[in-house]
């Protein structure tokens, strides 16, 4: 597809379960970002990748959160032992060039996670 694709669009899980959220960026985009957004708030930075490596993971809230991008394209955000406070919309974005230069982010529609 032409845009950033995120699956699933909605995920309902129970407290303590493991969850994986997938992001398929725009083809050729080397940078990939994960954000988390709660209702009425702005997107909260979690992690970003340049290629296969995590360039900055300072936003991951704790060690229950982990993200990978093994081939420099698709990325998976993994959440272990989910808690009710993890409920949010998880947004993925990709960029062709560095945002420090003139790179703009292209966002997916998000994955809404609800932890019961």
């Amino acid at each position: 597809g032409a845009g950033v694709s995120q699956t699933p669009s909605n995920k309902v899980t129970e407290k303590g379960k493991y969850v994986e959220l997938r992001c398929d960026p725009i083809s050729g985009h080397t940078a990939l970002y994960w954000y988390r957004q709660s209702l009425g708030q702005g997107p909260e930075f979690l992690i970003y990748f340049q290629g296969t490596g995590a360039a900055d993971d300072s936003g991951l809230p704790n060690d229950r959160f982990f993200a990978v991008r093994p081939e420099g394209s698709v990325s998976t955000l993994k959440i272990q032992r989910t808690e009710r406070g993890d409920s949010a919309v998880y947004l993925c974005a990709s960029s062709l060039t560095r945002t420090a230069n003139t790179g703009e982010l292209f966002f997916g529609e998000g994955s809404r996670l609800t932890v019961l």
Partner: protein, 110 residues
């Protein structure tokens, strides 16, 4: 903090009026970007202004940047109901980490 802070938090206007929202940031930037988010959707890039630019236009959007005051403004002229959305600024520094504030929620009434 690396995030921009948008002001006001909320803005309500009638169709046809102009909407102005502001963004302040703390340290020197490479560029500043504005994004729009419609309810329940992802963010959409609107416009980018470089640190050496003072004003930029795109359609009904006008962005200004005052690096001495560390602030930017986004003006939407002749607003439409379809402009109803949240608007976020994102200052870009030497890192590639874009941090967003809480945004300005714009409501345009028909």
């Amino acid at each position: 903090s690396q995030q921009g802070e948008e002001d006001p938090q909320a803005l309500s206007i009638q169709e046809g009026e102009n909407a102005t929202m502001n963004c302040s940031y703390k340290t020197s930037i490479n560029n500043l970007q504005w994004y729009r988010q419609n309810s329940g959707r992802g963010l959409v890039h609107l416009i980018l202004i470089r640190s050496n630019e003072r004003e930029k236009h795109s359609g009904r959007l006008r962005v200004t940047l005052d690096t001495s005051k560390k602030s930017s403004s986004l003006l939407i002229t002749a607003s439409r109901a379809a402009d109803t959305a949240s608007y976020f600024c994102a200052p870009s520094y030497n890192t590639d980490k874009l941090i967003f504030g809480t945004g300005t929620r714009l409501q345009v009434f028909p």
